[in-house]
Structure formats: structure tokens, C-alpha cells
């Protein structure tokens, strides 16, 4: 009787604790969102989207240059990372049954696990060192390299999910292998691949570490692709660690804008793919 009581008590206590753990984590999420939304929304104004940063001491100003800078860096990253990842994903899903594809998979996993700051060092060595100055291009290369593994993985996963009967149908009609792939299989997997791309973009949009010594930063508009540029995440970092209250407000506004963007894309993409199958991240 006493043993049974002890076992029942342990049962109840431990099961309750697991529930507490769950709601602790969910609570942290709510606190983060709530605190950020409160501070961000109260700091946000139209100026944030339209004006340049102002020097220390003046109030007001915005981060228009950083928003554009982030967009430019992300565009470059997409142009670099997505084609490589996409075609390599097609290779692994459609032609990849050799030992060589095992090697590619291993390299992709390796690349995916490399800390983003190390990717930054790599982009510095690839672009900044030979060109002798920091640039939007270098930031794009850094984020582009980070996009490759996820781009590959989502492409491969969604191509493999296309039913074999579709391929067989196309082949039976006399289509060649490559024609089957590009006119039947890829269109069938299009939604999944596009959602994966959005998740991938959202992931690198918040990356700061690889931009610190590639895109660097810039208090003004950055013209062209070969000048340093401000980006939203690096502005959050610089403004948050500065000792000025007005800068802190700007950092909250920037954080809020960034988080809203990232979470909206995540929610939308995950719903588009269907919950549970969205394995965009490692």
C-alpha cells in the first residue's frame, strides 16, 4: 500500500513537472514576443522606414539605409545560394545513388554545421581580402554560402516526395529523364521548394555574425554593390550595445520589424508546407 502510494505520488509529481517544463518554454516565447512587441511598437514610427540614422545626440532618424542594405544582401545571397543548392538537390534526388552523392551529402552536413561567424571569416578571405575593402557583395557571399545546405536539403526532400507514378507516367509518354524532371517532377514539388526558400531566407535574414566583417556597416546610403552597407541585424547589435537611450529605442524598433518579418514568413511557409513536415532547419 505504501509502495503503491509512493509510486502513484512519483507518477503524479513527475508528470506534472513535464507539463511545467512545457509551459515554462511556451511562457518564455510569450514573454519574448510580448516584451519585444511592447517595446518595439512604442518605438516604431514612420521615420524608421524612411529616414537615415542621425548622429549621436540628435533624436529621431530611422534605418531606411539598413532596410535597403538587408534587402540587397539577401538578394545577393539568394542569387548565390539558391541555384547551387537547388541544382545540387536535383542531382541528389534524381541522379544521386553513387558513392559521390554520399560525399556531397556529408559535405553539405558539414557546411550546415559550421558556425556563422566562421562563414564570415571565410567570406572575408574570399571577397574582402582580395578586393581590399568591405562590401555588400561580401555580405551576400557569406549569407549565400549559409543558404546552400538548407536549399539543397529542402529541394531534395520535396523532389523525393513526388510519387514515382508521376515519373513513370511521363517516361511512358516518351519523355526523357531530364524532361521528366524539369517539366513534371519539379513543378509537382514547386510549392514545397518555394516555401523552403522562404524559410531559408527568413533564417539568414536575422544573421548578424557573418556580416560584422563582410558588409561591415555604413551610416549613409550604400550605392552599388561594392561598398560597405548597413543591415538591419548589425544595426540592432550596434545600437543595443551603445550607451544611448535613443539608440536603444531604435534597436527595439529594428528588432520588432525583423522579428515580425521572420515569424510571419515562418508561419506562412509552415502552413503552406503542412505542419510537421517543415524541416527547414537542422
Amino acid at each position: 500500500m505504501t509502495l503503491s502510494f509512493r509510486r502513484r505520488a512519483v507518477n503524479a509529481v513527475m508528470l506534472t513537472l513535464t507539463g511545467v517544463c512545457t509551459f515554462l518554454v511556451a511562457g518564455v516565447l510569450l514573454v519574448i514576443l510580448g516584451y519585444l512587441a511592447w517595446n518595439g511598437a512604442t518605438s516604431l514610427s514612420l521615420d524608421f522606414f524612411t529616414k537615415l540614422p542621425v548622429p549621436v545626440g540628435e533624436t529621431g532618424g530611422g534605418m531606411a539605409n539598413a532596410i535597403l542594405g538587408s534587402a540587397k544582401v539577401l538578394l545577393l545571397a539568394m542569387l548565390i545560394g539558391v541555384p547551387i543548392g537547388f541544382f545540387a538537390g536535383v542531382y541528389l534526388a534524381e541522379f544521386g545513388d553513387s558513392a559521390y552523392s554520399g560525399v556531397i551529402r556529408y559535405a553539405t552536413d558539414l557546411l550546415n554545421g559550421v558556425p556563422s561567424i566562421v562563414i564570415g571569416i571565410f567570406a572575408y578571405a574570399l571577397v574582402v581580402q582580395p578586393m581590399k575593402h568591405f562590401s555588400t557583395l561580401a555580405g551576400g557571399v557569406a549569407l549565400g554560402i549559409m543558404m546552400i545546405p538548407i536549399s539543397l536539403r529542402t529541394t531534395e526532400e520535396f523532389l523525393r516526395a513526388v510519387p514515382v507514378s508521376l515519373r513513370e507516367g511521363a517516361m511512358a509518354l516518351g519523355a526523357s529523364r531530364s524532361r521528366t524532371i524539369f517539366t513534371v517532377v519539379i513543378p509537382a514539388a514547386k510549392n514545397g521548394i518555394l516555401s523552403g526558400l522562404m524559410l531559408n531566407l527568413a533564417r539568414v535574414a536575422g544573421e548578424t555574425a557573418p556580416l560584422l566583417f563582410t558588409a561591415l556597416g555604413n551610416p549613409f546610403w550604400s550605392s552599388g554593390w561594392l561598398q560597405p552597407t548597413a543591415t538591419l541585424p548589425s544595426m540592432i547589435y550596434n545600437y543595443a550595445i551603445a550607451p544611448y537611450d535613443d539608440w536603444h529605442r531604435q534597436a527595439w524598433a529594428a528588432g520588432f520589424v525583423l522579428l515580425v518579418l521572420v515569424l510571419t514568413v515562418n508561419v506562412a511557409a509552415r502552413f503552406a508546407i503542412g505542419r510537421g513536415s517543415a524541416r527547414g532547419r537542422s
Partner: protein
């Protein structure tokens, strides 16, 4: 040729096949080239880290990782405080995140109804999508003041006799960095562990319950051990992420290269020192030393990711 269909003449047959083959060959080559690019990028990355740090490797050798003096101006480079800071913050974060994450995964996999479990998991996975610089922002303005006003005074008054909770607390510290990291890695542990728990066959649970065990006993003594390798895999993945995490740690660790017994003292991490000093490195040697730190970080994460993948693959392949 005699066995080919009579409707196609041999010559048109050949050109038809050739056309198909050449199209396939083009697609094969093109996609194969993209795949090879990834291999090339990975090799080039390792090569740059290796060749970019040749100066300090020949100058300091292994004393680089055992020395604890860091003075770039005097060209004294000992990386031990950074390695120490990276390891302590990561281990501290695991110490917090593993029990909480495993508890939540058990709740989500074993107790919660499937619909609620999916919704909660979806929410928790969103936590993993929050950029690290935003965790840093919240660390500076939400976590550090909270620690200073509430948690640390309580810890010091109850556990202050322990050497790890002694000394002055300035807010920025190894302790703060560990907590921020724990919040960042807990979603990974939950989402992977929940999945491996859900993959445990139902008859394992039923057999345990039929023998008279309570729900908790069946979970803790049967289901969790069955899924142990996958759970360990999730922990390793989380550890790899914690080791390489830069922004959030840089913003709350205090950036002071010292090795202190107390968790409440400021510290420094490998990723943080690269982030702070790389763009303004004072000379060739300084920059190469930072690249060598990148190499150390790269090697650590490659090892740990490899171990994680092996563990997760082995559970998927054959259960225990």
C-alpha cells in the same frame, strides 16, 4: 537492331536515343557541377582556415590553446580564456536546457493530446526561428536586469557558499550567457526529442503498463531508454549550436578574457572575440590568430555534429 520496332527506321531511332541521352547528360552534368561546388566550397573553407592561420600555428604551436595571456598589442596570444568561456557557457546551457527540454518533450509526446501537442510544438519551433541578435537584445534589456534584481540575489543568499556563486555580479557574466544560450537551444532539444519519442513503438508502452507500471514508470524506464540515442543526438546538435553561437553571447558575457571560478564573473568566448576583434585586428598576426580560433571552433563543431548525426542515424536505422 532486328528486334527494334519496325515503325522506326534504324537511323531515326539512333538520333532519337542520342537526343534523349544528350539532354540527360546535360542535366546530369549541370546538376552534378552544382553538387561539386558544395564540395569545393567546403574544402576551400577548411583550406582557408588552415592556411590563413599558418603564422600563429608555427609561432605558438600548442601553447596557443594552453596560454591564458591575451594582449594583441604585445602580440601575446593565449586562447585558453576563450576556450574556457565557450565550454562553460555551452555546458551551463545544456545543464539547464536538457532537463527542461526533455521534460517538455515527454509531455508533448506522451501526455498531451496530439492536436495540442502539435500546436505547442509549432509555437516552440518558432522560438528557434528568432534571430540570435534579438536574443542578445532581450538579454541586455530583459534578462540581465531580471538576474540582477531577482534571481542572482536569491541564488547568492541560498547557494552563495559555493565558489561558483561568489563575487560581485555586474549583470554581464558567464551565467547570463549560459541562460540565454539555454533559451536558444531548448527548442532544438524539444523538437528532435519529441520526434524520437513519438517513434517508439506503441507496444513498448502497452507492455510496460500491462505489467503494472505507472505511466511515469513506463515512460522513464521503457520509452526514454528506447529513444536514448536520438535524445543524445538532439543534445549534441544543441551543443554544436551553443558552441558556435556568437551574437547573443557577445552581448551578455562581458567580453573580459579571464578564467574565473565564479559563474557570476564576466568572461569571453571564442566566437565573441572573433566578432569583436576581427574587423579591427591590429596586424597580420592578430588576424591570423583569430582565424586560428575560427579553426578551433570549426573543428569542435565538425566533431560534435558528426557524433550527433551518427547517434540520430543509428536510432532511425535500428531502434536501440
Amino acid at each position: 537492331m532486328a528486334t527494334q520496332p519496325a515503325t522506326l527506321s534504324p537511323s531515326s531511332e539512333r538520333s532519337f536515343l542520342q537526343r534523349i541521352r544528350s539532354g540527360d547528360a546535360v542535366a546530369h552534368t549541370l546538376t552534378g557541377m552544382a553538387a561539386s561546388t558544395i564540395l569545393a566550397v567546403t574544402i576551400l573553407l577548411a583550406y582557408h582556415l588552415w592556411s590563413g592561420s599558418s603564422l600563429p600555428r608555427s609561432a605558438f604551436g600548442w601553447s596557443f590553446v594552453t596560454g591564458s595571456d591575451w594582449d594583441p598589442v604585445a602580440e601575446k596570444f593565449g586562447a585558453l580564456p576563450f576556450i574556457f568561456g565557450t565550454l562553460t557557457t555551452s555546458l551551463l546551457s545544456l545543464l539547464i536546457a536538457v532537463p527542461v527540454g526533455l521534460g517538455a518533450a515527454i509531455f508533448l509526446a506522451e501526455l498531451a493530446p496530439r492536436g495540442a501537442s502539435d500546436a505547442l510544438t509549432f509555437m516552440i519551433e518558432l522560438l528557434a526561428a528568432v534571430p540570435s541578435v534579438i536574443y542578445g537584445l532581450l538579454g541586455i534589456f530583459l534578462l540581465v536586469p531580471f538576474l540582477q534584481s531577482t534571481l542572482v540575489p536569491v541564488l547568492v543568499s541560498t547557494l552563495g557558499f559555493l565558489p561558483i556563486f561568489q563575487g560581485q555580479f555586474f549583470g554581464v557574466s558567464v551565467f547570463s550567457a549560459g541562460i540565454i544560450l539555454a533559451i536558444m537551444i531548448v527548442p532544438f532539444i524539444i523538437s528532435v526529442s519529441r520526434e524520437v519519442l513519438l517513434a517508439v513503438p506503441q507496444d513498448q508502452r502497452e507492455a510496460a503498463l500491462a505489467l503494472g507500471s505507472t505511466k511515469w514508470e513506463s515512460t522513464w524506464k521503457i520509452v526514454v531508454p528506447y529513444a536514448m540515442r536520438g535524445i543524445m543526438g538532439s543534445v549534441f546538435l544543441a551543443l554544436a549550436r551553443a558552441l558556435g553561437e556568437t551574437m547573443a553571447v557577445t552581448m551578455v558575457i562581458g567580453n573580459k578574457p579571464q578564467i574565473a571560478t565564479s559563474l557570476l564573473a564576466p568572461g569571453y568566448s571564442i566566437a565573441a572575440v572573433i566578432a569583436n576583434e576581427f574587423a579591427e585586428a591590429t596586424g597580420n598576426m592578430h588576424q591570423q590568430v583569430l582565424i586560428e580560433l575560427g579553426l578551433v571552433l570549426f573543428a569542435l563543431t565538425v566533431l560534435i555534429n558528426g557524433a550527433a548525426r551518427l547517434l540520430i542515424l543509428s536510432t532511425k536505422a535500428g531502434g536501440k
